[in-house]
Every structure is written in C-alpha cells, then in structure tokens.
Amino acid sequence: MIQLLNVRKKFGQRLVVADLSLQVERGEIYGLLGHNGAGKSTAIGMMLGQVWPTAGEVRICGHDVAANRGAALRAVGAIFETPVFYDYLSGWRNLQILSTYTAPTSEARIQEVIAWVGLTGREHSKVRTYSHGMRARLALAQALLPKPELLILDEPSDGLDPEGIHEMRETILRLQRELGLTILLSSHLLNEVDQLCTRIAILQGGRKVFEGSVAEVKSVHGRVELKTPDFPGATRWLRERGLITATLEGRFIILSAGHSTAEITQTLVAAGFAVEGIWQHEQTVEDFYMGLVSQQKETTKS
C-alpha cells in the first residue's frame, strides 16, 4: 500500500529525511516512531504529495505520488495532529466541503460516517462548539468519507484526554477489524503503538534506525531487574565477562545474547556476590525505543 524507495528530503541545506525506504503491506497497522523533528511528518507529507521529495520515489496504492497524485490518493484518508476545520461552519458543511475534493459524495454517505464516528445529533452544530474529542471524531469522519483503503494518522491522539486516547485506540482497532483498512500511525505514545501496531519503523535524525514487527521487538530479551547489595561491583564483574551489555537506572541489566537469568544468578553466587532477587521484564516497544535511542546517542557521541 505504501512504498518509499530511497526517499530524501532537504529543506535548503538541512537534510530532514535521508534515504528512507519502507513498505507497508495491505491490512497492517504500521507505526512510525521518532522524536520531534525525526522526519515523521515530512515522510507523511511526501506520502500525501504535500512535500516534494528531493530524491527517491513514493508510491501509494501502486501509484507514484509525484507523477500521479490524483490516482495515488483516491483511496486514502488522513488525519493530522490537532484537527482543524472551518469553525464558523457546521460539521456537516465541513464534511460536504471536504468530500468535494475527492469525488461526488451522497448525503447518505455523509450521514453514514457521522453515525460511524458517533456524531449523530451534533452534525449541524457549528464546529466552534465542538470539544476536542468531537473534533477528533469529525477528523476521522472526513478521513472515512472517500471509503479509503489506506488511512494515514499523524499523531491522532495529540491533545486528547486519557479517555479520548482510549477511545481513539479502540476506534483504530475497529477500523482495521470492521473495515479492513491499512493504517499508518505516527505517534509519540509508545504504549499506543505497542498495543496497536503490527510493525514499526523508528526514525532518528531523518534516518530509519529500525524496522521490524512488534512481535520481534517483544521477543528480544528485555530488561532484567537485579537486586544485590553491591550492584556496581556485580555488574562490573558481569560486564568484564561479557554476560551483560548495559545497566539501566542502577537496578536493571541487559543480558548479552545467549545468556539466561539462571546463568547470571549462578555465576554471581559462585563469585561471592549475594543475589537477593532477579526478575525478567518483558520488553515493551517503549523499552526497545528507549534502548535504541540511548544506543544511537552513545554511537553518535563516540
């Protein structure tokens, strides 16, 4: 559904996206992660033909966006952070206006998406009277109007309260389950990505530093919490023997590949270190992301 081939974007002399290649398959929820300024929004802009790539090729639904933007975006819906509408017009009128930029849309279809997002009864009120959550729902409605196959969500939960974030998460799952949509999700909420996405890509400084499935991320050994009276001495000893790769927050260790917690315990006890407890924590996307980011920072520093 989405294919980026060695895409590069420069704003003046500043390189914002560097040789980015990624592929999103039909039916998956793909997460795009990265810090502010990592190039996520620029990459999304290039997918939608709003930002022109300096080099490379962007293909959406099999069409080259630069050469045939109209065909590429025919079955695409998008939501951006902080949904903006014509506040002085009603929700209904906003949907009518936006629908004409794609294809003729019947009133029945508008009514259908309004019902789907749960705005029935408020569609004729001016948008300026809508809460943030209602605006997010209206944004979703406008994205669903053209019966999309692909939905691009650029930080859709931005500015929502916890209840709104939960509702948005459930809606995204419903969209995939009930409508079979392919979804590209750019988000800062790593917990959200963890629960929703099937695959992720992590951008840093405009470069892709990781691409893989969430299952793959979780299968990697995560942090191990080690409780010992001499944490610095014990971890120095383990590191010297190549059993761990890093320590975190003065209580966690990251095991080297091929080593288990049982082996660590035995080794420490044999060496005379008291082990009061050792627990394996399942790796979350957040753990993985933070580990990757700190690793990248260290690499850059060195």
Binding site: F11, S41, T42, G45, L48, G49, Q50, V51, W52, R69, G70, A71, A72, L73, R74, V76, G77, A78, F80, E81, T82, P83, V84, F85, Y86, Y88, L89, R93, Q96, I97, L98, T100, Y101, T102, A103, P104, A139, Q142, P146, I152
Partner: protein, 280 residues
C-alpha cells in the same frame, strides 16, 4: 464537480465574518458622504460649477450624479483594501489555519484548487462592486431626485459630461463591469502573493504596496511616457466611459491589459503553489 467545489468555496468565503467588513465599511462611508453632500457646501459647489457652464443645476443634481460622486473615492481607496484582503487570504489563510493540509490530503490538484478559489475570489469581487454601486445609488435616491447625470473629472482624465437619466443609468451600470475588472486584477495580484510561503496579512500588504507604488510612479512626470506599464493607469478606464466621445480603443486596451495582468498573476501564483512544500 467543479460547480460543487465552487459552491463550497463560496460557502467558506461568505461564511466568514471578515468577508463582510468591506460591505459594512461601504455602507458606513456612503451614508456619511451622502449626509455631507446634502448638508455641507459640497452641493452648492456643484451647483455653481454647473451654472457657470450654462446648465440648470436643478436638472442634474440627482441620485445618479451623487451616486457617482460617492463612488469615486471608495473605488480608489476602499475597494482595493477589501479585495486584496480576500485575495491575500485565499491560500495563505488556509495554510496558516492548517485546513490546507487537510484539503491537500485529497486527490484534488493544486492548480484545480487554486482555480476554484480564484473563481470564488472573482465572484466576490464582482459582488462587492455591484453592492458598492447598488448601495450608492439606493442611498442617493433617498435624498435626491431621479434626473439627469452630471459627471465631472479632473486631469489626467478630464470629463465634463451631461446625460439624460436613461443614458446615465446605462453608463453607470456599464462602468461597474469595468470596475469589476479592476477589482479582479487587484484580487489576483493579492492571490498571487498568497500562493507564496507568507502570512495572509503580508500578501495583502504586498499587493497594496504594489498598487500604491504603481499609482505613485504613474503620477511622476518623468514616467509619463511609460504610463501604460502601470496597472493603476488602466484602472481609470471606467471614468473614460463618461467622456464624450468615448475613447473605446483606450478602454479596450486597458481592459485587455487588466485581463492579462490577472491571468499572469494566476499563472505565477499557480506555479509558486505547485512547487512549494505544504507543512504544518
């Protein structure tokens, strides 16, 4: 589809309160001018001018004469302000508000979008001019009788003409067509600037600066030989309509130049809009 897009563009335009600033300002300015005309020495000066040339003032101090007198300063000063305000908003305001990103996530081409917006701007310009003329004539008719029309203009476009009411009304209506062409050209220049990466106010100010600079240069004697190069010189063609005999060749030339200016502004704007990146 074009019709639906244009209709929606008009909803957006006429749904905004700021669109009506121009209409409100015209009503205010015209009612003030009308009262001044009626209750100051302005009217008696007109009577003297007519009587001095051998014409009975009572036959020509009429609704048509007063409407035209009220119209002139507003066409020169207020109209450019309001049409450039709408033209400057055209793309830049949607970029600033963030709605443009949402529109451009849809398969509509940027040139098509600009074309629809430009047509809506053209419609607004025509409506504004018609409202201006209609309000002026309507207000003037309240206090003045329906009689002949007297048109007086000073150099560089000297006019001293008298018309019977029917002929006067016909010319008055026709002059609005030419004023609308002026308004469209002004709006197009502002819309062109609006397509570049700038704030809506900057686009409006740039367009007004261009018009002001053109007007200043046009009136410098050194540039007399180059007057055709100044857009404001061609804005005066509606006044020429009242000259006797009517200089049709000059009027047609000016209108073609205004049309070409609007088209050029559209093309430059479309090119700038097409190549730029739209970011949040």
């Amino acid at each position: 589809m074009l019709r639906a897009q244009l209709q929606n563009e008009l909803w957006k335009l006429f749904g905004k309160r700021r669109t009506y600033i121009g209409f409100g300002a015209f009503v205010l300015a015209q009612s003030t001018m009308l009262l001044m005309f009626k209750y100051t020495r302005w009217e008696s000066q007109f009577e003297r001018l007519l009587a001095g040339n051998g014409y009975p003032a009572s036959d020509y101090i009429s609704a048509l004469t007063v409407a035209l007198v009220m119209l002139t300063p507003q066409i020169l000063l207020l109209m450019p302000l309001y049409v450039t305000l709408v033209g400057g908003d055209m793309v830049a305001k949607e970029t600033e508000d963030g709605t443009l990103r949402m529109i451009l996530s849809r398969p509509i081409s940027r040139v098509r979008l600009l074309w629809v917006k430009w047509m809506a701007g053209t419609f607004f310009s025509v409506v504004l001019v018609l409202a201006l003329g209609g309000i002026a004539l309507g207000f003037a008719r309240i206090l003045f009788p329906w009689k002949g029309m007297f048109v007086f203009g000073e150099p560089p476009h000297p006019v001293f003409s008298l018309f019977p009411p029917g002929e006067g009304l016909r010319l008055y209506l026709f002059s609005h067509l030419l004023m609308a062409m002026n308004a469209i050209a002004m709006m197009s220049v502002a819309a062109m600037f609006s397509c570049f990466n700038m704030k809506p106010a900057a686009a409006t100010i740039l367009a007004l600066s261009y018009l002001f600079m053109s007007m200043v240069l046009e009136h410098i004697p050194f540039f007399e030989a180059y007057q055709n190069w100044f857009i404001t010189h061609h804005f005066a063609s509606w006044v020429l309509l009242f000259q006797s005999p009517t200089p049709w060749a000059q009027i047609i030339q000016s209108e073609i130049i205004l049309l070409a200016t609007s088209a050029t502004a559209f093309v430059i704007g479309a090119l700038a809009f097409q190549v730029r990146d739209i970011k949040s």
